[in-house]
């Protein structure tokens, strides 16, 4: 029998899980990643991973996890897959536990669980405050084991440029670039799984890593792979502002009892500790007594914006609020939150065990992503699969805290076997594809590089990127107005025109990071427009998408998935129904009981 | 997996043997040597008596070769091999442990050269019958005296730091606190051995026997 071959692009949690599943099926895998997979962005996830194991006698169940996820996502998520994911979550925790993840333990030696945003149950397993790092390493180790056995071949330090599609529109492999030698090369495969993560760089500064550009998604989009719900961008309520990055301050800080507040008096400049309790405004606890500091992220973010911009209560007039842990014993903090508290201490030189932290919302996660079917992570292009943050499933209009890790592992876990099944059922594999299609794609990509290298313009890629980030952060995050979105789209088109006059300032052919960044930037500019146009068209407020001019959820007109298509070089928005077959939509309110 | 026949790696064994030989027998011999030589602090006759006793043990040549010369030769030569493979960076990273690392190499080399000369002068030139008089004559030469002082201090600290290294490298002190204590112990041993060694030199040079009152 013909031995199929699978390529996986991206080595974060989803990509590694898919790799393991394919290798386990006995099918050879080529794993491509820009950075060594152990340095992927999943490493940044802090708080934990959700699974309704009900170990605390609270009566939690996978159905409640499912309901919380759908409700938290404001009913935009396709329910059948979310239900499957929540049912699979306890098994995923068991698997990770068997892989040796150093989860925190109870005195009995069982896994400990803590509470996270958007739920009333302790259902988040955690390993200190670096759960993503621990999970990524566990999967990285398993992949390394398969690599040592010769089942996996890693291409670290390679970037994805494009898919190789045959004349029937079927994916037959990929075209990649070695970031050292800058060589452009094609790799045949029967199926390709994309696990290329988030899009933070589109917003300039975010909580995402440098490689989270969305470039692969955008490249695929321009080859006919649909992109769904791009307008749903999660802004995390608590991040540490910085010029190079907005460093996340995990929800677990609130899960462990952290309280968010501002002084009641505007412009109060007294030291935080000297302000008596009566003069502190614990606005989340006052406005949302049931969930308190653990309301979902979109709600907390908007509350902080309201306090800072409308009520003018930002700390000393700045864009910041307090996240206070000082009432919690130092020893507890060190045991459960040390990793994130160290980040604060290191980058600001202030000990958060002694002084309340100053935080502000930051772009954090994209709920939207590559369109995949409601079954097995297949995209609309045969042979192309997607999983992890880069797909659009599981989180609807807003993701619950600690649901991303589980969705990555679940999505990657089903994408792997699905790709294997598809590849095995192919009548003719990539080996019998016309060699001309590979050469055609390689030449096209090499020509794009040559053009950029030779181009003699006046624009700097970093400058264009920063301007794009400013436009997106200002107009396409927390609060959206149609006139601003139109303005943003205009600016994005202007930036795309300026992009054509870019000057690389590095024309060498060895490890040219500027060339790679510029290619990514070109793709980001397209993705930015997909998000902006999606937001512009959605005249309602749902989950993370909030328009003051349309403050309510509008199920009659917008209980539907935005599905962007690339038609003749233009972005075209289409819509399709959401799977609501299990839980009928109901109003989403966190100020009263559900 | 089938049970494989276990064969420890050769370079590992050589390296471990180097570490062990520094304590036993070389370190142990150093302690013994200081102990028996310190009899000079009592009296000349006690020293000569002790020397004669050691010079007249049965199978002397074998005992010397197997317990002293070969181990020192191995420890020294393999030590130089190790030294050649390391690259001190104490100027960039002037941390205590790094100083000790650098010091261990310097003292080791000095001690090795010194021991070579010492054995030649006191064991071979005297045909294995060295007496107080031989030592006294040697030490009349100020260069010999200075070299001996340097050699004694180098050997002492090499042994002291070696104890610290040994305890860490064999995992007998694992926690940070235990390793810190082992470091202090090592420095203390270095100081104590140096002190006793220098006193012995002074004793030979000045004909000074502070514990002579024991036998008076």
């Amino acid at each position: 029998m013909r031995q199929p071959k699978i390529i996986i692009v991206g080595g974060g949690l989803a990509g590694l899980m898919a790799t393991i599943r394919v290798a386990e099926a006995g099918v050879p895998v080529d794993l491509f990643s820009i950075v060594p997979v152990k340095r992927s962005h999943s490493v940044c996830a802090q708080g934990g991973i959700n699974a309704a194991k009900n170990t605390k006698g609270e009566g939690d169940s996978t159905w409640k996890h499912f309901d919380d996820s759908i409700y938290g996502g404001d009913f935009l998520a396709n329910q059948t897959l979310v239900k499957r994911m929540c049912e699979a979550a306890p098994g995923i925790i068991d698997l990770l536990d068997r892989m040796g993840v150093m989860f925190n333990r109870t005195p009995e030696g069982l896994l400990d669980y803590r509470r996270f945003g958007g739920t009333l149950y302790n259902r988040t397993a955690f390993a200190g405050a670096t759960t993503g790092q621990q999970l990524l390493y566990a999967l990285d180790e398993q992949v390394r084991r398969h690599e040592a056995d010769g089942k996996v071949r890693k291409y670290e330090g390679w970037t994805f440029l494009s898919a190789v599609l045959d004349d029937a529109g079927v994916c037959r492999g990929i075209c990649g670039m070695d970031l050292k030698s800058m060589e452009v090369k094609v790799f045949p495969a029967d199926a390709v799984i994309f696990c290329t993560g988030g899009v933070g760089a589109v917003f300039g500064r975010s909580t995402n890593s440098v490689v989270c550009t969305g470039s692969a998604q955008a490249a695929l989009f321009q080859q006919g792979v649909d992109y769904a719900n791009g307008e749903f961008i999660q802004v995390h309520p608590t991040a540490i502002p910085g010029e190079d990055k907005l460093r996340l301050m995990s929800e677990s800080a609130r899960g462990e009892g952290g309280r968010v507040w501002v002084p009641r008096k505007p412009g109060d400049t007294r030291p935080a500790k000297s302000i008596p309790d009566a003069e502190r405004f614990y606005f989340l606890e006052e406005w949302y007594p049931k969930y308190g500091n653990l309301v979902p992220r979109d709600i907390a973010t908007r509350a902080i914006h309201r306090v800072v911009f409308q009520e003018k209560l930002g700390l000393a007039g700045q864009q910041a609020v307090y996240l206070d842990l000082t009432h919690i014993p130092r020893e507890t903090l060190d045991r459960k939150l040390e990793g994130i508290l160290e980040i604060y201490e290191k980058f600001l030189g202030v000990d958060p065990r002694e002084e309340p932290m100053k935080v502000f919302p930051a772009m954090h996660y994209t709920m939207g992503g590559i369109w995949v079917n409601n079954e097995d992570q297949a995209t609309n292009v045969p042979g192309i699969y997607a999983a992890g943050e880069c797909d659009y499933q599981y989180h609807g209009a807003n993701r619950l805290g600690a649901n991303s890790l589980v969705s990555c592992i679940f999505g990657g876990g089903i994408a792997g076997p699905a790709a294997v099944k598809y590849a095995k059922n192919l009548e003719k594999g990539s080996e019998s594809a016309d060699p001309a299609i590979f050469e055609r794609e390689r030449k096209r990509q090499a020509a794009m590089n040559d053009a950029l290298i030779k181009q003699d313009g006046s624009e700097n890629p970093v400058t264009i990127w920063k301007e794009m980030g400013d436009v997106m952060s200002e107009h396409v995050t927390v609060t959206r107005y149609n006139k601003n979105l139109e303005l943003a789209d205009g600016k994005l088109q202007a930036l795309a025109a300026r992009f054509k006059k870019i000057n690389l300032s590095d024309r060498t052919q060895w490890s040219n990071q500027t060339l790679n960044f510029t290619r990514e930037l070109g793709n980001m500019l397209v993705l930015a427009r997909v998000m902006t146009l999606g937001a512009l068209a959605r005249n309602e407020s749902r989950g993370a998408h909030y328009k003051p001019d349309y403050p309510d959820r509008d199920d009659a007109n917008f209980l539907k998935t935005t599905r962007a298509k690339w038609v003749n070089g233009e972005i075209k928005l289409t819509y399709e129904a959401v799977d609501t077959s299990h839980i009928p939509p109901r109003p989403r309110r966190y100020d009263v009981a559900q | 997996m089938s049970a494989k026949v276990f064969r420890p790696d050769r370079s590992y064994l050589l390296r471990k043997l180097h570490s062990l030989s520094g304590i036993v027998p070389v370190g142990a011999f150093l302690a013994e040597h200081f102990w028996s030589n310190s009899t000079v602090l009592v009296s000349i006759s006690k020293y000569n008596e002790t020397s004669r006793e050691l010079q007249t043990i049965p199978f002397r040549i074998f005992a010397e070769a197997l317990m002293i010369w070969l181990p020192i030769l191995y420890h020294g030569c393999y030590g130089i091999h190790i030294w050649m493979r390391g690259k001190s960076n104490v100027s960039d990273y002037p941390w205590v442990g790094n100083w000790l690392y650098t010091l261990q190499r310097a003292t080791g080399l000095v001690a090795f050269v010194y021991i070579g000369w010492h054995v030649y002068a006191e064991r071979f030139l005297t045909h294995g019958k060295s007496t107080y008089g031989d030592m006294e004559r040697t030490l009349q030469n100020p260069y010999a005296l200075a070299f001996m002082a340097v050699g004694i201090v180098a050997s002492s600290f090499h042994f002291g730091i070696g104890i610290w290294n040994f305890l860490c490298k064999w995992g007998l002190t694992a926690t940070v606190q235990a390793q810190r204590a082992a470091g202090r112990l090592g420095v203390l041993v270095g100081l104590a051995f140096s002190l006793v060694g220098i006193l012995i030199l002074v004793s030979f040079r000045l004909n000074w026997h502070p514990f002579e009152f024991y036998i008076k």
């Binding site: 940044c44 068991d94 390394r144 590095d506 | 590992y12 390391g86 000790l100 694992a174």
Partner: protein, 250 residues
């Protein structure tokens, strides 16, 4: 503009693995809470040296910018450290930035740390599970073991411990503290412990644990504060016991 506070940065440049290294000096505009990454981005945005010469943006590895991915280790003012957490205001000027010296340079500040990943393979740094299908819960682990193991699993493979180790150099391919510490971690896990022997045997080979000479620089340089010297001592004990009793008793 002229009286704006400047940051003077000297970067060791190298166009490729075999090219000569040279220094370039840059004068950048100072801003509050600036770090070395921001400085390198400033250079990318305006690639002009201090004396106005046109140059190329500096190549370097970076990703998370919060000291958890391990990418951006470099030698800053003579010390191995992570660029993202190296705040400009804490550094003496002119700030000297060099690539790690114990790994092959790819270009400028970017180096190839594949040696470390290969070493992880060599020591079988994983818990060998039967498969990803549902086999129930993992073994119970005491909170005490978790509290010991968790710090070890924080290792970001940045290479700082190899960079500062006098025993790691072109003549001596010592595996380094990070990998030895991983062996301790996996030998600690109930399932991992079943396969401790293969890891210990791997550490006996050339460049293995015996090459550690106890300079203890690793623990000083580790950006994650991992108790590396404890790990080395602990694994040393496991290895010689394996060597001795494995040979004596089988």
């Amino acid at each position: 503009m002229a009286d704006k506070k400047k940051v003077i940065v000297r970067v060791k440049r190298q166009a490729g693995p075999k090219q000569e290294a040279r220094w370039e000096e840059f004068a950048l505009d100072w801003r509050p809470s600036m770090n070395v990454i921001i400085a390198l981005r400033d250079i990318a945005e305006n690639p002009l040296t201090r004396d106005g010469q046109k140059t190329t943006p500096v190549s370097y590895d970076s990703n998370c910018l919060e000291e958890i991915c391990g990418s951006c280790a470099m030698v800053i003012n003579g010390k191995a450290r992570m660029a993202c957490s190296a705040l400009i205001d804490d550094l003496e000027q002119p700030i000297r930035i060099e690539p790690l010296s114990k790994f092959p340079v790819v270009r400028d500040l970017a180096v190839d740390r594949q040696f470390m990943f290969e070493s992880l393979k060599r020591v079988h740094a994983w818990v060998p599970i039967d498969g990803t299908y549902d086999l129930g819960e993992g073994p119970r682990v005491s909170p005490e073991t978790q509290e010991k193991g968790y710090p070890l699993s924080n290792c970001i493979t940045c290479g700082s411990c190899l960079e500062v180790c006098p025993q790691v150099n072109e003549k001596n391919p010592f595996i380094g503290a990070a990998i030895i510490s991983q062996v301790r971690l996996f030998n600690m896990h109930p399932t991992g412990a079943m396969h401790a022997r293969e890891r210990l045997e791997a550490l006996m080979g050339p460049g293995g644990i015996a090459d550690c000479a106890n300079a203890q620089n690793c623990v000083q340089a580790c950006p994650k504060g991992i108790p590396l010297t404890e790990s080395i001592a602990e694994v040393n004990r496991q290895v010689w016991k394996q060597a001795l009793f494995g040979w004596l008793l089988g």
